[in-house]
Amino acid sequence: MDANKGREVKEGYRYTDKHEWVKAEGNGTALCGISDFAQNSLGDIVYVELSAESGSDISGGDVIAVVESAKAASDVYSPVSGKVLEINSAIEDSPETVNKSPYDEGWFIKLELADTAELEKLMTPAQYTDFLAAGG
Protein backbone atom coordinates (compact mmCIF):
# COMPACT_ATOMS: atom_id res chain seq x y z
CA MET A 1 0.00 0.00 0.00
CA ASP A 2 1.17 3.55 -0.80
CA ALA A 3 2.46 4.93 2.51
CA ASN A 4 1.58 8.47 1.43
CA LYS A 5 -2.01 7.56 0.50
CA GLY A 6 -4.39 9.85 2.29
CA ARG A 7 -1.58 12.03 3.66
CA GLU A 8 -0.54 14.19 0.74
CA VAL A 9 0.40 17.71 1.77
CA LYS A 10 0.69 20.23 -1.06
CA GLU A 11 3.14 23.09 -1.27
CA GLY A 12 1.68 26.57 -1.63
CA TYR A 13 -1.19 25.84 0.75
CA ARG A 14 -1.74 26.67 4.43
CA TYR A 15 -3.46 24.25 6.79
CA THR A 16 -5.60 24.23 9.95
CA ASP A 17 -5.57 21.72 12.78
CA LYS A 18 -9.06 20.68 11.59
CA HIS A 19 -7.56 19.68 8.23
CA GLU A 20 -8.85 22.51 6.08
CA TRP A 21 -6.57 24.29 3.63
CA VAL A 22 -6.43 27.77 2.17
CA LYS A 23 -4.52 28.74 -0.94
CA ALA A 24 -3.83 32.43 -1.66
CA GLU A 25 -4.25 33.29 -5.30
CA GLY A 26 -2.10 36.43 -5.20
CA ASN A 27 -4.76 39.06 -5.79
CA GLY A 28 -6.19 39.12 -2.28
CA THR A 29 -8.41 36.13 -2.96
CA ALA A 30 -8.05 32.56 -1.78
CA LEU A 31 -9.57 29.13 -2.25
CA CYS A 32 -10.49 26.90 0.70
CA GLY A 33 -11.04 23.18 0.95
CA ILE A 34 -10.21 20.08 2.99
CA SER A 35 -6.92 18.23 3.00
CA ASP A 36 -6.13 14.84 1.55
CA PHE A 37 -5.92 13.54 5.12
CA ALA A 38 -9.44 14.87 5.80
CA GLN A 39 -11.02 13.34 2.70
CA ASN A 40 -9.31 10.03 3.38
CA SER A 41 -10.40 9.99 7.03
CA LEU A 42 -13.98 10.71 6.05
CA GLY A 43 -14.02 7.94 3.47
CA ASP A 44 -16.41 8.01 0.53
CA ILE A 45 -18.06 11.42 0.53
CA VAL A 46 -21.65 11.01 -0.60
CA TYR A 47 -23.11 14.45 0.11
CA VAL A 48 -21.87 18.02 0.34
CA GLU A 49 -23.97 20.97 1.44
CA LEU A 50 -22.31 24.36 1.12
CA SER A 51 -23.86 26.58 3.73
CA ALA A 52 -21.64 29.60 2.94
CA GLU A 53 -23.37 31.99 0.54
CA SER A 54 -21.82 34.11 -2.16
CA GLY A 55 -21.50 37.71 -1.07
CA SER A 56 -21.63 36.99 2.65
CA ASP A 57 -18.91 37.88 5.14
CA ILE A 58 -17.54 35.03 7.19
CA SER A 59 -15.01 34.68 9.97
CA GLY A 60 -12.32 32.09 10.42
CA GLY A 61 -13.91 29.12 12.21
CA ASP A 62 -17.39 29.63 10.73
CA VAL A 63 -19.07 26.53 9.32
CA ILE A 64 -18.99 26.73 5.52
CA ALA A 65 -20.23 23.27 4.63
CA VAL A 66 -21.43 19.91 5.85
CA VAL A 67 -19.96 16.79 4.26
CA GLU A 68 -21.45 13.36 4.75
CA SER A 69 -19.51 10.19 4.30
CA ALA A 70 -20.92 6.68 4.30
CA LYS A 71 -20.94 6.75 8.10
CA ALA A 72 -21.35 10.30 9.42
CA ALA A 73 -21.86 14.01 8.87
CA SER A 74 -19.03 16.46 9.57
CA ASP A 75 -18.80 20.24 9.55
CA VAL A 76 -16.20 22.06 7.49
CA TYR A 77 -14.91 25.39 8.85
CA SER A 78 -13.49 28.37 7.07
CA PRO A 79 -9.75 28.64 7.76
CA VAL A 80 -9.78 32.43 7.45
CA SER A 81 -12.06 35.50 7.40
CA GLY A 82 -13.35 37.25 4.30
CA LYS A 83 -16.14 37.79 1.82
CA VAL A 84 -17.38 34.71 -0.05
CA LEU A 85 -16.91 35.34 -3.76
CA GLU A 86 -17.90 31.96 -5.08
CA ILE A 87 -18.98 28.53 -3.90
CA ASN A 88 -18.06 25.38 -5.79
CA SER A 89 -21.52 23.95 -6.50
CA ALA A 90 -19.90 21.25 -8.64
CA ILE A 91 -18.98 19.35 -5.47
CA GLU A 92 -22.63 19.35 -4.39
CA ASP A 93 -23.52 17.58 -7.62
CA SER A 94 -20.48 15.26 -7.54
CA PRO A 95 -19.38 14.90 -3.91
CA GLU A 96 -16.83 12.25 -4.88
CA THR A 97 -14.77 15.06 -6.47
CA VAL A 98 -13.64 15.98 -2.95
CA ASN A 99 -12.23 12.46 -2.52
CA LYS A 100 -10.60 12.42 -5.94
CA SER A 101 -9.16 15.92 -6.03
CA PRO A 102 -9.16 17.50 -2.57
CA TYR A 103 -6.61 20.22 -3.47
CA ASP A 104 -7.85 21.19 -6.93
CA GLU A 105 -11.30 20.45 -8.33
CA GLY A 106 -12.61 19.66 -4.86
CA TRP A 107 -12.28 23.21 -3.47
CA PHE A 108 -15.21 24.48 -1.39
CA ILE A 109 -15.29 28.28 -1.47
CA LYS A 110 -13.42 31.26 -2.91
CA LEU A 111 -12.86 34.18 -0.56
CA GLU A 112 -11.75 37.77 -0.72
CA LEU A 113 -9.35 37.73 2.22
CA ALA A 114 -10.15 40.17 5.04
CA ASP A 115 -6.55 40.15 6.23
CA THR A 116 -3.75 38.31 4.45
CA ALA A 117 -1.83 38.21 7.74
CA GLU A 118 -4.32 35.57 8.92
CA LEU A 119 -2.62 33.12 6.56
CA GLU A 120 0.61 33.43 8.51
CA LYS A 121 -1.10 32.03 11.59
CA LEU A 122 -1.93 28.77 9.83
CA MET A 123 0.38 25.79 9.43
CA THR A 124 2.90 25.67 6.61
CA PRO A 125 3.10 22.42 4.59
CA ALA A 126 6.12 21.36 6.66
CA GLN A 127 4.32 22.11 9.93
CA TYR A 128 1.20 20.31 8.76
CA THR A 129 3.26 17.28 7.71
CA ASP A 130 4.72 17.18 11.22
CA PHE A 131 1.23 17.64 12.67
CA LEU A 132 -0.01 14.59 10.70
CA ALA A 133 3.04 12.58 11.70
CA ALA A 134 2.30 13.40 15.34
CA GLY A 135 -1.11 11.86 14.93
CA GLY A 136 -3.19 14.74 13.51
Binding site: M1, G43, D44, V46, Y47, E49, E68, A70, K71, A72
Partner: protein, 362 residues
Protein backbone atom coordinates in the same frame (compact mmCIF):
# COMPACT_ATOMS: atom_id res chain seq x y z
CA UNK B 1 -8.73 -0.40 23.96
CA UNK B 2 -11.61 -2.67 23.11
CA UNK B 3 -11.82 -6.41 22.75
CA UNK B 4 -10.01 -7.84 19.76
CA UNK B 5 -11.03 -10.68 17.51
CA UNK B 6 -8.43 -13.28 16.43
CA UNK B 7 -8.31 -11.41 13.09
CA UNK B 8 -7.34 -8.02 14.51
CA UNK B 9 -3.77 -8.13 13.15
CA UNK B 10 -5.07 -9.15 9.73
CA UNK B 11 -7.30 -6.07 9.67
CA UNK B 12 -4.35 -3.80 10.45
CA UNK B 13 -2.24 -5.40 7.72
CA UNK B 14 -5.06 -4.92 5.21
CA UNK B 15 -5.25 -1.23 6.10
CA UNK B 16 -8.50 -1.54 8.01
CA UNK B 17 -9.58 1.57 9.88
CA UNK B 18 -10.36 0.37 13.38
CA UNK B 19 -13.33 1.73 15.34
CA UNK B 20 -15.19 0.71 18.46
CA UNK B 21 -18.30 -1.39 17.95
CA UNK B 22 -20.11 -2.71 21.01
CA UNK B 23 -16.81 -2.76 22.89
CA UNK B 24 -14.87 -4.42 20.07
CA UNK B 25 -12.06 -2.99 17.94
CA UNK B 26 -13.24 -3.75 14.41
CA UNK B 27 -12.54 -2.38 10.92
CA UNK B 28 -15.14 0.11 9.71
CA UNK B 29 -13.64 -0.10 6.22
CA UNK B 30 -10.44 -1.15 4.47
CA UNK B 31 -10.34 0.99 1.34
CA UNK B 32 -13.78 2.35 0.50
CA UNK B 33 -17.12 1.59 2.14
CA UNK B 34 -18.88 1.99 -1.21
CA UNK B 35 -16.46 -0.27 -3.10
CA UNK B 36 -16.85 -2.89 -0.36
CA UNK B 37 -20.64 -2.60 -0.53
CA UNK B 38 -20.66 -3.01 -4.30
CA UNK B 39 -18.20 -5.93 -4.14
CA UNK B 40 -20.79 -7.82 -2.07
CA UNK B 41 -23.62 -6.85 -4.43
CA UNK B 42 -21.74 -7.92 -7.56
CA UNK B 43 -18.99 -10.37 -6.52
CA UNK B 44 -18.21 -11.28 -2.93
CA UNK B 45 -17.10 -9.83 0.38
CA UNK B 46 -15.36 -11.24 3.45
CA UNK B 47 -16.38 -10.11 6.95
CA UNK B 48 -14.96 -10.72 10.41
CA UNK B 49 -18.04 -11.24 12.58
CA UNK B 50 -16.21 -12.84 15.50
CA UNK B 51 -17.67 -10.29 17.91
CA UNK B 52 -21.11 -11.90 17.75
CA UNK B 53 -22.14 -14.25 20.51
CA UNK B 54 -22.93 -17.97 20.33
CA UNK B 55 -24.83 -19.99 22.94
CA UNK B 56 -25.47 -23.69 23.18
CA UNK B 57 -28.82 -24.93 24.52
CA UNK B 58 -28.82 -28.66 25.11
CA UNK B 59 -31.02 -31.19 26.86
CA UNK B 60 -34.30 -33.07 26.43
CA UNK B 61 -36.42 -30.02 27.19
CA UNK B 62 -34.40 -27.49 25.13
CA UNK B 63 -37.12 -26.89 22.58
CA UNK B 64 -39.82 -26.58 25.21
CA UNK B 65 -37.63 -24.10 27.07
CA UNK B 66 -36.89 -21.98 23.98
CA UNK B 67 -40.57 -22.10 22.99
CA UNK B 68 -41.42 -20.57 26.37
CA UNK B 69 -39.26 -17.55 25.47
CA UNK B 70 -39.69 -16.77 21.77
CA UNK B 71 -42.72 -15.75 19.67
CA UNK B 72 -41.72 -17.92 16.71
CA UNK B 73 -43.12 -21.37 15.99
CA UNK B 74 -40.67 -24.29 15.91
CA UNK B 75 -42.91 -26.30 13.58
CA UNK B 76 -40.74 -25.68 10.50
CA UNK B 77 -37.41 -26.07 12.26
CA UNK B 78 -35.64 -29.36 11.59
CA UNK B 79 -32.16 -30.79 12.18
CA UNK B 80 -29.63 -28.79 10.18
CA UNK B 81 -31.87 -25.76 9.80
CA UNK B 82 -32.02 -22.33 11.41
CA UNK B 83 -34.59 -19.60 11.86
CA UNK B 84 -34.68 -15.94 12.80
CA UNK B 85 -36.44 -15.03 16.03
CA UNK B 86 -36.23 -12.73 19.03
CA UNK B 87 -36.40 -12.66 22.81
CA UNK B 88 -39.12 -10.45 24.27
CA UNK B 89 -39.41 -9.01 27.75
CA UNK B 90 -42.67 -9.17 29.76
CA UNK B 91 -43.96 -6.06 27.96
CA UNK B 92 -43.30 -7.50 24.50
CA UNK B 93 -40.24 -5.29 23.95
CA UNK B 94 -37.32 -6.90 22.18
CA UNK B 95 -34.36 -8.01 24.34
CA UNK B 96 -32.46 -9.20 21.28
CA UNK B 97 -32.99 -10.61 17.80
CA UNK B 98 -31.11 -13.79 17.03
CA UNK B 99 -30.76 -16.94 14.98
CA UNK B 100 -31.69 -20.36 16.33
CA UNK B 101 -30.03 -23.33 14.64
CA UNK B 102 -31.33 -26.83 15.38
CA UNK B 103 -28.43 -29.28 15.49
CA UNK B 104 -30.66 -32.03 16.91
CA UNK B 105 -34.01 -32.24 18.71
CA UNK B 106 -32.16 -31.73 22.01
CA UNK B 107 -29.35 -29.48 20.76
CA UNK B 108 -29.73 -25.85 19.64
CA UNK B 109 -27.21 -23.17 18.70
CA UNK B 110 -28.07 -19.51 19.18
CA UNK B 111 -26.32 -16.59 17.47
CA UNK B 112 -26.82 -13.34 19.35
CA UNK B 113 -25.64 -9.75 19.04
CA UNK B 114 -22.30 -8.71 20.54
CA UNK B 115 -23.76 -5.78 22.46
CA UNK B 116 -26.51 -7.84 24.09
CA UNK B 117 -24.63 -11.06 24.75
CA UNK B 118 -24.34 -10.69 28.56
CA UNK B 119 -27.90 -9.42 28.89
CA UNK B 120 -29.27 -12.28 26.76
CA UNK B 121 -27.36 -14.88 28.71
CA UNK B 122 -28.66 -13.54 32.02
CA UNK B 123 -32.21 -13.57 30.69
CA UNK B 124 -31.86 -17.12 29.39
CA UNK B 125 -30.32 -18.20 32.68
CA UNK B 126 -33.01 -16.53 34.78
CA UNK B 127 -35.69 -18.33 32.79
CA UNK B 128 -34.04 -21.76 32.77
CA UNK B 129 -36.35 -24.66 33.49
CA UNK B 130 -36.40 -28.40 32.99
CA UNK B 131 -33.66 -30.59 31.55
CA UNK B 132 -31.67 -27.83 29.81
CA UNK B 133 -27.97 -26.96 29.80
CA UNK B 134 -27.11 -23.44 28.69
CA UNK B 135 -23.56 -22.54 27.71
CA UNK B 136 -21.92 -19.38 26.34
CA UNK B 137 -19.53 -20.44 23.54
CA UNK B 138 -18.73 -16.90 22.37
CA UNK B 139 -15.16 -16.81 23.68
CA UNK B 140 -14.25 -20.06 21.96
CA UNK B 141 -15.95 -19.16 18.69
CA UNK B 142 -14.81 -16.94 15.83
CA UNK B 143 -17.01 -16.16 12.85
CA UNK B 144 -16.27 -15.27 9.26
CA UNK B 145 -18.96 -14.38 6.71
CA UNK B 146 -18.55 -14.87 2.97
CA UNK B 147 -21.29 -12.94 1.20
CA UNK B 148 -22.21 -12.15 -2.37
CA UNK B 149 -23.38 -13.81 -5.59
CA UNK B 150 -19.96 -15.44 -6.14
CA UNK B 151 -19.54 -16.69 -2.57
CA UNK B 152 -20.48 -20.27 -3.43
CA UNK B 153 -17.61 -20.59 -5.92
CA UNK B 154 -15.12 -19.41 -3.31
CA UNK B 155 -16.51 -21.73 -0.62
CA UNK B 156 -16.25 -24.70 -3.01
CA UNK B 157 -12.55 -23.99 -3.45
CA UNK B 158 -11.92 -23.99 0.30
CA UNK B 159 -14.34 -26.68 1.51
CA UNK B 160 -14.24 -29.19 -1.34
CA UNK B 161 -16.00 -31.86 0.75
CA UNK B 162 -19.18 -29.81 1.12
CA UNK B 163 -21.97 -30.07 -1.45
CA UNK B 164 -22.96 -26.40 -1.53
CA UNK B 165 -25.50 -27.08 -4.29
CA UNK B 166 -27.68 -28.95 -1.82
CA UNK B 167 -27.09 -26.65 1.17
CA UNK B 168 -30.33 -24.69 1.05
CA UNK B 169 -31.01 -21.25 2.46
CA UNK B 170 -31.15 -21.20 6.28
CA UNK B 171 -29.63 -24.68 6.45
CA UNK B 172 -26.20 -25.53 7.82
CA UNK B 173 -23.64 -28.29 7.63
CA UNK B 174 -20.20 -29.12 8.98
CA UNK B 175 -16.77 -29.42 7.51
CA UNK B 176 -13.21 -29.39 8.83
CA UNK B 177 -10.31 -27.02 8.43
CA UNK B 178 -6.89 -27.87 9.83
CA UNK B 179 -8.50 -30.66 11.87
CA UNK B 180 -10.94 -28.24 13.51
CA UNK B 181 -14.70 -28.44 12.98
CA UNK B 182 -16.34 -25.66 10.95
CA UNK B 183 -20.06 -24.99 11.04
CA UNK B 184 -21.23 -23.46 7.75
CA UNK B 185 -24.69 -21.93 7.41
CA UNK B 186 -26.29 -20.62 4.24
CA UNK B 187 -27.33 -17.35 5.86
CA UNK B 188 -26.25 -13.74 6.07
CA UNK B 189 -27.03 -10.12 6.74
CA UNK B 190 -26.40 -8.52 3.35
CA UNK B 191 -29.34 -9.35 1.08
CA UNK B 192 -27.07 -11.57 -1.03
CA UNK B 193 -26.48 -15.28 -1.17
CA UNK B 194 -23.74 -16.18 1.26
CA UNK B 195 -22.38 -18.17 4.13
CA UNK B 196 -21.56 -17.74 7.79
CA UNK B 197 -18.69 -19.80 9.20
CA UNK B 198 -18.53 -20.61 12.90
CA UNK B 199 -15.00 -21.66 13.74
CA UNK B 200 -12.35 -22.27 16.37
CA UNK B 201 -10.43 -18.98 16.91
CA UNK B 202 -7.20 -20.96 16.39
CA UNK B 203 -7.90 -21.40 12.67
CA UNK B 204 -9.40 -17.95 12.04
CA UNK B 205 -6.23 -16.36 10.65
CA UNK B 206 -5.31 -19.23 8.33
CA UNK B 207 -8.86 -19.60 7.07
CA UNK B 208 -9.22 -15.83 6.52
CA UNK B 209 -6.02 -15.76 4.44
CA UNK B 210 -7.03 -18.79 2.40
CA UNK B 211 -10.49 -17.34 1.68
CA UNK B 212 -8.87 -14.08 0.53
CA UNK B 213 -6.45 -16.00 -1.68
CA UNK B 214 -9.06 -18.31 -3.22
CA UNK B 215 -11.41 -15.37 -3.51
CA UNK B 216 -9.02 -13.27 -5.55
CA UNK B 217 -10.16 -14.61 -8.97
CA UNK B 218 -13.73 -13.82 -7.82
CA UNK B 219 -12.78 -10.22 -6.89
CA UNK B 220 -13.54 -10.92 -3.24
CA UNK B 221 -12.88 -7.89 -1.02
CA UNK B 222 -12.47 -7.77 2.76
CA UNK B 223 -15.37 -5.66 4.04
CA UNK B 224 -15.82 -3.55 7.14
CA UNK B 225 -18.69 -2.54 9.39
CA UNK B 226 -19.72 0.44 7.23
CA UNK B 227 -20.58 -1.76 4.26
CA UNK B 228 -22.15 -4.37 6.53
CA UNK B 229 -24.47 -1.63 7.79
CA UNK B 230 -25.34 -0.15 4.38
CA UNK B 231 -25.92 -3.65 2.96
CA UNK B 232 -28.29 -4.66 5.74
CA UNK B 233 -30.11 -1.33 5.52
CA UNK B 234 -30.72 -1.74 1.77
CA UNK B 235 -31.93 -5.30 2.42
CA UNK B 236 -34.13 -4.00 5.29
CA UNK B 237 -32.68 -6.15 8.04
CA UNK B 238 -33.19 -4.68 11.51
CA UNK B 239 -30.24 -3.79 13.70
CA UNK B 240 -30.48 -4.18 17.44
CA UNK B 241 -30.19 -0.87 19.27
CA UNK B 242 -31.65 0.93 16.25
CA UNK B 243 -34.87 -0.58 14.89
CA UNK B 244 -35.06 -2.96 17.82
CA UNK B 245 -34.92 -2.26 21.54
CA UNK B 246 -36.76 -3.12 24.75
CA UNK B 247 -39.43 -0.49 24.10
CA UNK B 248 -40.31 -1.70 20.61
CA UNK B 249 -42.36 -4.83 19.99
CA UNK B 250 -41.97 -7.08 16.94
CA UNK B 251 -45.12 -5.69 15.28
CA UNK B 252 -43.81 -2.15 15.53
CA UNK B 253 -40.43 -3.24 14.22
CA UNK B 254 -41.92 -4.84 11.10
CA UNK B 255 -41.21 -8.34 12.39
CA UNK B 256 -44.82 -9.55 12.61
CA UNK B 257 -43.76 -12.55 10.50
CA UNK B 258 -41.72 -13.99 13.37
CA UNK B 259 -44.73 -13.85 15.72
CA UNK B 260 -46.49 -17.09 14.84
CA UNK B 261 -46.17 -19.39 17.83
CA UNK B 262 -49.34 -21.00 19.21
CA UNK B 263 -47.58 -21.72 22.50
CA UNK B 264 -47.61 -19.68 25.66
CA UNK B 265 -44.39 -17.67 25.88
CA UNK B 266 -43.13 -14.49 27.58
CA UNK B 267 -45.49 -11.67 26.52
CA UNK B 268 -47.63 -13.95 24.33
CA UNK B 269 -50.84 -12.37 25.70
CA UNK B 270 -49.54 -8.87 25.09
CA UNK B 271 -48.37 -9.63 21.57
CA UNK B 272 -51.71 -11.31 20.77
CA UNK B 273 -53.46 -8.13 21.81
CA UNK B 274 -51.08 -5.94 19.76
CA UNK B 275 -51.86 -8.12 16.77
CA UNK B 276 -55.63 -7.76 17.28
CA UNK B 277 -55.61 -4.02 17.96
CA UNK B 278 -52.80 -3.18 15.57
CA UNK B 279 -49.53 -1.63 16.77
CA UNK B 280 -49.39 2.03 17.76
CA UNK B 281 -46.26 2.62 15.72
CA UNK B 282 -44.71 0.94 12.73
CA UNK B 283 -41.39 0.86 10.95
CA UNK B 284 -41.43 2.28 7.43
CA UNK B 285 -38.89 2.62 4.64
CA UNK B 286 -38.06 6.11 3.42
CA UNK B 287 -36.18 7.29 0.33
CA UNK B 288 -34.95 10.86 0.04
CA UNK B 289 -36.31 12.34 -3.17
CA UNK B 290 -33.42 14.60 -4.08
CA UNK B 291 -30.31 15.00 -1.93
CA UNK B 292 -29.53 14.50 1.72
CA UNK B 293 -28.56 11.71 4.05
CA UNK B 294 -30.98 10.76 6.82
CA UNK B 295 -29.37 9.72 10.10
CA UNK B 296 -30.61 8.04 13.25
CA UNK B 297 -32.70 10.31 15.46
CA UNK B 298 -33.80 12.75 12.75
CA UNK B 299 -37.50 13.68 13.07
CA UNK B 300 -40.03 12.63 10.45
CA UNK B 301 -42.85 15.05 9.61
CA UNK B 302 -46.07 14.53 7.69
CA UNK B 303 -48.37 17.41 6.80
CA UNK B 304 -46.65 19.57 9.39
CA UNK B 305 -46.98 17.08 12.24
CA UNK B 306 -44.13 15.17 13.88
CA UNK B 307 -44.93 11.48 13.29
CA UNK B 308 -41.74 9.78 14.45
CA UNK B 309 -38.01 9.42 13.94
CA UNK B 310 -35.35 7.77 11.82
CA UNK B 311 -33.99 4.58 13.44
CA UNK B 312 -31.26 3.92 10.85
CA UNK B 313 -30.27 6.00 7.87
CA UNK B 314 -27.53 6.30 5.35
CA UNK B 315 -26.52 6.41 1.74
CA UNK B 316 -27.57 3.58 -0.54
CA UNK B 317 -24.76 2.82 -3.00
CA UNK B 318 -27.21 0.88 -5.21
CA UNK B 319 -29.97 3.51 -5.32
CA UNK B 320 -27.50 6.42 -4.98
CA UNK B 321 -29.94 8.06 -2.58
CA UNK B 322 -30.36 8.60 1.12
CA UNK B 323 -32.49 5.84 2.65
CA UNK B 324 -33.86 5.23 6.12
CA UNK B 325 -35.88 3.10 8.44
CA UNK B 326 -38.25 5.23 10.54
CA UNK B 327 -40.49 4.39 13.46
CA UNK B 328 -43.70 6.39 12.96
CA UNK B 329 -47.27 6.58 14.21
CA UNK B 330 -48.94 3.55 12.67
CA UNK B 331 -51.72 5.27 10.79
CA UNK B 332 -49.93 8.46 9.84
CA UNK B 333 -48.66 7.34 6.44
CA UNK B 334 -48.86 4.56 3.87
CA UNK B 335 -46.73 3.43 0.95
CA UNK B 336 -46.42 6.34 -1.46
CA UNK B 337 -46.99 9.02 1.17
CA UNK B 338 -44.76 12.07 1.13
CA UNK B 339 -42.95 12.95 4.34
CA UNK B 340 -40.21 15.35 5.37
CA UNK B 341 -37.10 14.35 7.26
CA UNK B 342 -35.67 17.17 9.36
CA UNK B 343 -31.98 17.39 8.50
CA UNK B 344 -30.07 20.16 10.32
CA UNK B 345 -33.29 22.15 10.87
CA UNK B 346 -34.39 21.86 7.25
CA UNK B 347 -37.25 19.78 5.89
CA UNK B 348 -36.00 17.39 3.22
CA UNK B 349 -38.60 15.57 1.12
CA UNK B 350 -38.81 11.77 1.23
CA UNK B 351 -41.27 9.08 0.14
CA UNK B 352 -42.57 6.06 2.02
CA UNK B 353 -41.67 3.05 -0.12
CA UNK B 354 -42.40 -0.66 -0.02
CA UNK B 355 -40.09 -2.84 2.05
CA UNK B 356 -37.35 -3.84 1.22
CA UNK B 357 -35.22 -1.30 -0.66
CA UNK B 358 -33.26 -4.21 -2.12
CA UNK B 359 -34.82 -7.66 -2.59
CA UNK B 360 -32.88 -10.75 -1.55
CA UNK B 361 -30.68 -11.78 -4.45
CA UNK B 362 -29.96 -15.46 -4.14
Amino acid sequence: MGKRTPLYEKHLKLGGRIVDFAGWDLPVQYTSAIDEHMAVRTNAGLFDISHMGEFSVKGKESQKYLESLVPTSFSKLEDGKGMYSCLCNEKGGIIDDFFIFRIAADDFYLVVNAGTREKDFKWLQANLKGDVVLEDLSDITAKIDVQGPLSKGIMEKVFSDVDFESLERFHFTYSKFNEKPVMISNTGYTGEAGYELFIDPAIAGTLWDLLLEKGKPFNLLPCGLASRDSLRLEACYSLYGHELNENVNPFEAGLSWIVNSEKKYVASDILKKVKEDGPERRTVCLVIKDKGIPREGYRVMHEGADIGHVTSGGYSPVMKKGIAFALVKAKAVKTGSDVDIVIRDKNVGASVVKRPFYSFNG
